[in-house]
């Protein structure tokens, strides 16, 4: 017998919760929804574009009636719930329908606040809240020309803009002397007013309404200073009030909204509430972004999984008025404990202000150039220390020495620009999917377009697209969960693995309440890495949680064949090794022999069954795995150094070989490359490697956090040391702090940008003790995991994992 869930309110919050619930517990409830409006669930925030004539009602539908049918959800539309008997758990509606429940979800949203001045109930006075209001505005504009909008906030300005687009003459009346004073400071407010005036909007500032007059319909509005304006339509957009009428009537505890705890539960444990009708930790939310975070948590508790709490949302605002770029987030006014960084360029119409407290961004206002809004809000949410990037902060992310795709600004890209190079997804594809399919989260976009679902390096770009497409309606989750199998973030999971001494994937899944026993491809690989890197001695590597390349110790190619790349220590080889490689290439008919970028030789087109045979031949001549397939130390590139080069200052090949001997075989969060150059001419390109050594006459310069790849990032200079021993100690310490602290699949460059170069430098340069301990732990891990037993020898000679390389059976 299914339990019964009744939802009061057929809006975005309630339906998002139902969708999340159907995803995780599709068979738990028989669901009934009551909606006062005569429609399915539509995207309320897109009412402005509908009013402007840029979109139609059909285009903003999120769940049409077919959806309710397909998902076995009973919808009573155009029906208002009048009473809930909490003793018998029965809901009664105004058409006489009754329905019992096991759990009740209240998502009644909010109502526009109508100022109770005389005449407020005349026909022609409306709010701006639903399809009915939009219809009324469009209808009026067909025959009448004059409109007044009361309220110069976000909603009021969008309404006024829409009415102008419909050909009306519009005056905005505002109580304060600054527009959108909850989002803008005086300067940006004034810039906005000027731009809107240029588009034909009129303003009456610092004015309060005393009366609305008219004979059977609105004709005139009168203000406290005695002035008046003749008008045919008045739109009140002075704020919203949580709709808590029903909740109060049935005795639920309400303050300004229905009071809920961090699981979205009201004071009646059977009743949950979500959306604009609630009050959470003293906050009311009138924007849509927080709803999605709430819905996730609420669905989780309705499904009785019992994990996930809602702790509030950092919201940001964007005005949906064509031609005006405006962004605002957090505490943008500041006080005596904060400092501002401000850029003001009147002729370009640009104003940017960032408010900083304790070296962290707590608020921002951007006008005219909002491209970096999503970046600032990310820095805010993650409470990133901005000391290291302060000088470039105002100029935007594009001016940082950034890694990955970070610096590309999506707003400037054309629709056919490729966002996800792995899966060939263009900007147009992503934007289209977001708008047509009504997507709101990164996971949604990944599932529908595949963008950002492979290597993940374009995740930032996809998030920017969500931000720019949805505006303030997109809320990047505060800490992203590893995948859909859990609510927990990478950092939390790793912390628990350490604190609770969890030494296997199944322990982690059990203790941290994973949603399913097996996890998925994404979380199994991550969690396996965290377990083995945290507990090298106590844990056992889980074979089936390795990507195929790390199981087969070779790189899978697109046709299902593999590549073989033996290690060439420090880029050095011998005639004997070259002969061995040539021999296997001929013996196994491998036509493609390629010199790789990492100073090695790759053989391509190898059949899987033949891998152990090839490895055997190579092993016999002393060659071992190059780990060219792994999230591991790849190569150490070198130049010939002082032994041959007339400019060489130190033995760069020698140090390269020692570095490779130290670190080969160690599993890392992502691939890891090193290089050693014999002089500052830097022929080995050490300053675009994860760890680079540049020899100088007086010793060795050490550099960290570089990469080639999609977006080149040059290294940060770490320090200069005198001896080879010190180079090796620093290298070991750096490898280990990266292994212990970076998230799985995060390369050193984005990791360093996330935690700050200063932190890394303090940890391994300033703190001598910490450096020595890190280096010790690295060597310990190398030893106890026997990571330098050649995996190829194990498989070619010692019979390890034989099943991997032989068919189960050959038939036909």
């Amino acid at each position: 017998m299914k339990e019964k869930l009744v939802v009061i309110g057929n809006g975005m919050a309630g339906m998002r919760t139902v969708e999340e619930l159907l995803e995780i517990a599709p068979d738990k409830y028989e669901i009934t929804v009551f909606g006062a409006e005569n429609y399915g669930n539509y995207n309320r925030i897109l009412l402005s574009p509908v009013l402007c004539g840029e979109k139609t009602i059909d285009e903003i539908m999120l769940n049409d009636e077919q959806w309710y049918e397909d998902n076995n959800v009973t919808l009573h539309k155009g029906v208002k719930v009048t009473y809930v008997d909490r003793k018998s758990c029965t809901v009664t509606a105004d058409n006489g329908t009754t329905q019992t429940y096991d759990r009740l979800l209240i998502s009644t949203g909010s109502d526009p606040f109508i100022i109770p001045v005389p005449g407020h109930d005349l026909p022609g006075v409306i709010g701006f809240r639903d399809i009915k209001d939009v219809d009324a505005m469009i209808e009026t504009s067909k025959t009448r020309k004059r409109a007044v909008v009361i309220g110069g906030g976000l909603l009021g300005l969008e309404a006024a803009n829409g009415l102008i687009k419909q050909g009306m003459d519009v005056t905005v009346v505002h109580l304060m002397d600054c527009l959108m004073e909850r989002q803008l400071d005086d300067i940006s407010g004034e810039m906005l007013k000027k731009s809107l005036e240029a588009q034909g909007m009129k303003f009456k500032m610092k004015s309060s309404t005393t009366e609305i007059q008219g004979d059977g319909k609105v004709e005139k509005i009168i203000f406290s200073d005695g002035s008046e304006i003749e008008t045919d339509l008045i739109v009140m957009a002075v704020g919203i009030r949580p709709n808590i009428e029903l909740a109060k009537k049935i005795g639920l505890h309400c303050e300004r909204g229905i009071v809920v705890n961090d699981t979205l539960q009201t004071y009646d444990p059977k009743i949950y509430a979500i959306g604009e009708c609630i009050e959470h930790r003293g906050m009311l939310y009138g924007l849509v972004a927080p709803l999605f975070e709430m819905a996730k948590v609420c669905a989780n508790h309705l499904a009785e999984y019992g994990i996930g709490i809602y702790t509030g949302t950092v919201t940001s605002t964007k005005l949906k008025v064509t031609g005006i770029d405006l962004f605002s987030a957090g505490d943008f006014r500041g006080d005596e404990t904060t400092e501002d960084i401000v850029v003001r360029d009147a002729s370009r119409g640009v104003y940017k202000k960032i408010v900083i407290k304790d070296e962290k961004i707590i608020g921002a206002v951007l006008y005219g150039d909002t491209i970096d809004g999503s970046w600032y809000i990310k820095l805010m949410r993650e409470a990133t220390n901005i000391t290291d990037i302060r000088d470039a902060l105002m100029f935007g992310q594009g001016h940082l020495g950034d890694s990955g795709h970070g610096g590309n600004v999506v707003a400037n890209m054309s629709d056919d620009a490729e966002i996800c190079g792995c899966n060939g997804v263009t900007k147009g594809d992503v934007v289209n999917a977001i708008t047509v399919k009504g997507l709101f989260t990164l996971e949604d976009v990944r599932a529908h377009t595949k963008a950002s679902s492979s290597c993940g390096s374009c995740t930032g770009l996809v998030e920017q697209l969500l931000e720019t497409t949805l505006g303030g309606d997109y809320a990047a989750p505060e800490a992203k969960s590893i995948c859909g199998c859990t609510e927990h973030s990478h950092d939390y999971v790793r912390e628990q693995i350490r604190n609770q001494k969890l030494t296997s994937i199944s322990d982690v899944y059990k203790k941290l309440n994973w949603k399913n026993n097996d996890g998925c491809a994404a979380c199994r690989m991550s969690v396996n890495y965290y377990v083995i890197s945290t507990w090298p001695e106590e844990s056992k590597d889980d074979y089936q949680s390795r990507f195929i390349n790390e199981r087969a110790h070779a790189n899978i190619q697109k046709d299902g064949t593999y590549s073989v790349i033996p290690r060439m220590w420090g880029g050095m080889t011998t005639p004997k090794e070259l002969r061995a490689i040539a021999n296997v290439a001929e013996k196994f008919d491998l036509d493609t022999v390629h010199v790789t970028g990492g100073q090695r030789i790759g053989l391509y087109g190898v059949k899987k069954e033949e891998l152990p045979l090839i490895w055997k031949d190579l092993n016999d001549e002393g060659l071992v795995s190059g780990h060219a397939y792994g999230k591991a130390l790849r190569t150490v590139k070198t130049c010939v150094g002082k032994e041959w080069c007339r400019f060489g200052t130190q033995d760069s090949t020698g140090i390269g070989i020692k570095l490779e001997q130290l670190s080969w075989g160690s599993w890392m969060p992502h691939k890891f490359k090193m290089a050693a150059s014999g002089c500052p001419r830097n022929c080995a390109e050490a300053t675009i490697k994860d760890f680079g050594v540049v020899c100088v006459d007086s010793g060795y310069e050490l550099h960290i956090g570089g990469n080639g790849g999609i977006k080149v990032r040059a290294t940060d200079f770490l320090t200069r040391v005198d001896t080879e021993e010190e180079v090796l100690e620093y290298a070991a310490a750096f490898c280990q702090i990266y292994r212990e602290e970076a998230r799985y699949l995060e390369r050193t460059a984005p990791w360093i940008e996330r935690v700050g170069f200063t932190y890394v430098k303090e940890s391994i340069v300033d703190d001598v003790e910490k450096r020595k301990q890190l280096a010790e732990r690295f060597k310990f891990s190398q030893k106890v995991t026997r990571s330098q037993d050649d995996p190829w020898t194990d498989r070619s000679t010692n019979g390890v994992d034989a099943h991997e390389f032989t068919p189960l059976k050959v038939i036909g």
């Binding site: 792995c422 899966n423 599932a447 529908h448 595949k450 679902s453 492979s454 399913n516 026993n517 097996d518 996890g519 998925c520 491809a521 199994r524 690989m525 074979y543 089936q544 949680s545 990507f547 195929i548 087969a552 899978i556 697109k558 299902g560 099943h803 068919p807 189960l808 059976k809 050959v810 038939i811 036909g812």
Partner: protein, 103 residues
């Protein structure tokens, strides 16, 4: 005409792993999940022919190693918003031996 062919023992396949059965030109991927259930599908992802036998197995599905499509092992259909199907085969276990139905 269909026939049941024995291809090996359940224990020949690692838990949450897969093995390949060569059937002439065609490879069949045989999977074992954490409940010791056995599934068989064509070893070719409907997306770009990735070898599903090389993927990561979870529950009753496998994630293709090439582009992360998820395939339902019970019927060979792509899961989630992806659309496509690779052929699947009925399987049964008799006395620890795996049998696959070939048509």
């Amino acid at each position: 005409m269909s026939s049941w062919i024995e291809v090996g023992l359940v224990e020949d396949i690692p838990v949450l792993g897969a093995r390949v059965v060569r059937n002439g030109e065609n490879d069949i991927a045989v999977f074992r999940n954490s409940n010791d259930e056995i599934f068989a599908v064509n070893d070719s992802c409907p997306h770009k022919k990735g070898k599903l036998s090389q993927g990561i197995v979870h529950d009753k599905s496998v994630t293709c190693p090439l582009h992360n499509w998820k395939i339902d092992l019970t019927n060979g259909e792509a899961l989630g918003p992806d659309i496509g199907c690779t052929g699947h085969y009925a399987t049964k276990i008799e006395g620890g031996k795996i049998l696959i139905e070939l048509k």
